[in-house]
Structures are given as structure tokens and as C-alpha cells.
């Protein structure tokens, strides 16, 4: 990434993702209280409508992006040894990509188009 993209754009990404996550949290609380799940089948059914499924997926992706910027900021502040920082960032990013794939697979398996 260019230095430009790592300043204003990551900051903006963090702010905008925060707004979406607040909106999603409110929406999810309403949706879950309207369709309160009492068993596994009901729990699966909640995530079946494509719209809620996609909103949830977007929430998780943005949460991971938000966290990536936050963790990067901590490493930039405290980890000054560049090779160590690179290894740490690679570990975190790999873990986040794996989480994203896992969540995508979980949500995709229950969506009903």
C-alpha cells in the first residue's frame, strides 16, 4: 500500500466501519428479538434470508478490517523492529483471512436464495 493509503484511508475505513457496525448491532438485536431462536433449526433459519445473511457477512468483514487497522496502529506504536512487525502483521492478517473464509463458509451454508 502507498503511504497515502495507510493514513487517511485506513483512518476513514475505521470510522466508516464503526458506523456500519453500530447500525448492524441495532438491526441484529431487533431481528433476533423478533425471531428469538430456541433451537438449532431456528438459529439456522435466522440466517437464511439473503439480506440478513449478507449484512452479517459484511459486518464480520468490516469488523476484521476495523480490527486490522487497530492492531496495525498498536504495532506501529510499540513494535519498532521492522522485521518483527512484519512477522506479527503477517500472522494477524493470515488469521483474519482464515476467520473471514470460515465465516463466509458458515453463512453461505445456511443461506436460502
Amino acid at each position: 500500500m502507498s503511504p497515502r493509503a495507510q493514513g487517511l484511508r485506513t483512518w476513514l475505513l475505521q470510522r466508516l466501519s464503526a458506523v456500519y457496525m453500530i447500525a448492524y448491532t441495532i438491526m441484529a438485536i431487533v431481528w433476533l428479538s423478533l425471531n428469538a431462536p430456541f433451537d438449532f433449526v431456528a438459529w439456522q433459519a435466522i440466517f437464511a434470508p439473503p439480506l440478513f445473511n449478507i449484512f452479517t457477512l459484511l459486518f464480520v468483514f468490516l469488523l476484521l478490517a476495523h480490527a486490522w487497522v487497530g492492531v496495525r496502529d498498536i504495532f506501529v506504536d510499540y513494535v519498532h523492529h521492522l522485521p518483527t512487525r512484519f512477522v506479527l502483521m503477517t500472522l494477524i492478517s493470515t488469521m483474519q483471512i482464515m476467520l473471514a473464509i470460515w465465516v463466509f463458509m458458515a453463512l453461505f451454508s445456511v443461506v436460502q436464495l
Binding site: P3, R4, G7, W11, R72, D73, V76, D77
Partner: protein, 230 residues
């Protein structure tokens, strides 16, 4: 009154230590007055000071853990024993004197002067009263360094992060209607280090002896960057 003062002479001391002093002094006097009297007792004590009225910005010190100007801080406002140390995070030269090079290098880096590309006007540069109002709360900075040396982000990255004092001045020139280098200034400040190391901790706002608000200025710069991007 009881004082604990940070002492360090690199020529004779292996490491810094705190020295106790006792002084008869009216508690309505300022910390700087006390330091001057202590120096009369022990002339080896070294500290910076000049105007004595919060204008020159040379006597920034750390009193009971909080940065401030010795000349504007009343003794009665501090709990005894009053611990006086140099401002944190800077290389110590001796006793209460620190090397401010990094602070002034960051100030220099924001180009603290007007940049005008147009031909010079026949008369003076003109501003409306409203345009002039925008500089209030910015131009008053005396560069004492209380804010930047109390900023954790500046402690971690003093060579890369501009620090609150320099960023306040960056905004002072961005907000000036006569300046024509807005885009260049904004581009220079982008990236992960120069401005975006600020995490709105707001230590700068708490300690500024002139009551200025660098955090607000930094937010204004971010807004200008956003407008510039769109």
C-alpha cells in the same frame, strides 16, 4: 516547602537521582520563583527560564507528573513534596534541561511560514475579519513543548510523528486564507506516521499552558483531507 528535584550531570553522575530541598517561600509564588531561590542555595542546579510570564516558552518542566510552565504554575496548586523533573521523553542534557532538537525538527518539517505562489500584491496581503478569526487559538502557541513531550504517540515515534505542537501550527497555515500550499501541506501530512499517530489521547489539550487545543486542530486537518480527497 519541600521539593524533590531531578538532578543529573553527565560529567559526574552515573545516573539521574532526585535531590531534596527545603525552602521558605510564600505559596502564592510560582514554581520558577522557587527554582531561582533553590539555585541561590545550590548554584549547580540547571534549568531554563527567561521571561517569567508565559510568553517565551523556555521553562517547560514536569511538576508532580504534569507538564507545565514553571512561571505560570502556582506553588499552592501542587502537593508537597513538589517533584520537579524535566519534560518526559526527551534526551536529558543536565538536571531539568532537555534537548529539544527533535521537537523543533518536527516544527520545521511542517514549513511554518506562508507559501504564496501568486505575484506579490502592491499593497499588504488582505484578510477579512472572518478570515483572521480562523487563526485565533492557533497563532498563540509559544512552542514551549509541554504538549508534544506529554503525548504518548510522540514518545513512541518522536522522529516520525509530527506531534501536537507542530500539527497545531500546520493547521495554523492550512487555515490561513493567504496560504496557497494547501494541497502540498495535506499530502505531506498523510501516511501512517506524520499525523495519523494521533489517537486523540488529548494530553496535549490538558497541559497546554496557553489553553490551546491541538486535538481540535488535528481533527480540522482530517476534515480538510477528506474534502480534498472527495
Amino acid at each position: 516547602m519541600r521539593f524533590k528535584i531531578h538532578r543529573y550531570n553527565p560529567e559526574t553522575d552515573k545516573k539521574p537521582y532526585m535531590q531534596d530541598f527545603e525552602l521558605e517561600i510564600d505559596s502564592s509564588r510560582m514554581v520558577r520563583d522557587a527554582l531561582i531561590r533553590i539555585k541561590a542555595q545550590d548554584e549547580s542546579l540547571v534549568f531554563r527560564h527567561s521571561c517569567g510570564e508565559g510568553v517565551c516558552g523556555s521553562d517547560a518542566i514536569n511538576m508532580n507528573g504534569i507538564n507545565g510552565l514553571g512561571c505560570l504554575t502556582r506553588l499552592s496548586s501542587l502537593k508537597q513534596p513538589i517533584e520537579i523533573r524535566p519534560v518526559p521523553g526527551m534526551p536529558i542534557i543536565r538536571d531539568l534541561v532537555v534537548n529539544m532538537d527533535q521537537f523543533f525538527n518536527q516544527y520545521r518539517a511542517i514549513k511554518p511560514y506562508l507559501t504564496v505562489n501568486d505575484p506579490e500584491p502592491e499593497v499588504e496581503y488582505k484578510q477579512t475579519p472572518e478570515q483572521r478569526d480562523k487563526l485565533d487559538g492557533l497563532y498563540e502557541c509559544i512552542l514551549c513543548g509541554c504538549c508534544s513531550t506529554f503525548c504518548p504517540s510522540f514518545w513512541w515515534n518522536p522522529d516520525k510523528f509530527r506531534g501536537p505542537a507542530a500539527l497545531l501550527q500546520a493547521y495554523r497555515f492550512l487555515a490561513d486564507s493567504r496560504d496557497q500550499a494547501t494541497t502540498e501541506r495535506l499530502e505531506e501530512l498523510d501516511g501512517p506516521y506524520r499525523m495519523f499517530r494521533c489517537h486523540t489521547i488529548m494530553n496535549c489539550v490538558n497541559v497546554c499552558p496557553k489553553g490551546l487545543n491541538p486535538t481540535k486542530a488535528i481533527n480540522e486537518i482530517k476534515k480538510m483531507m477528506l474534502k480534498d480527497m472527495l
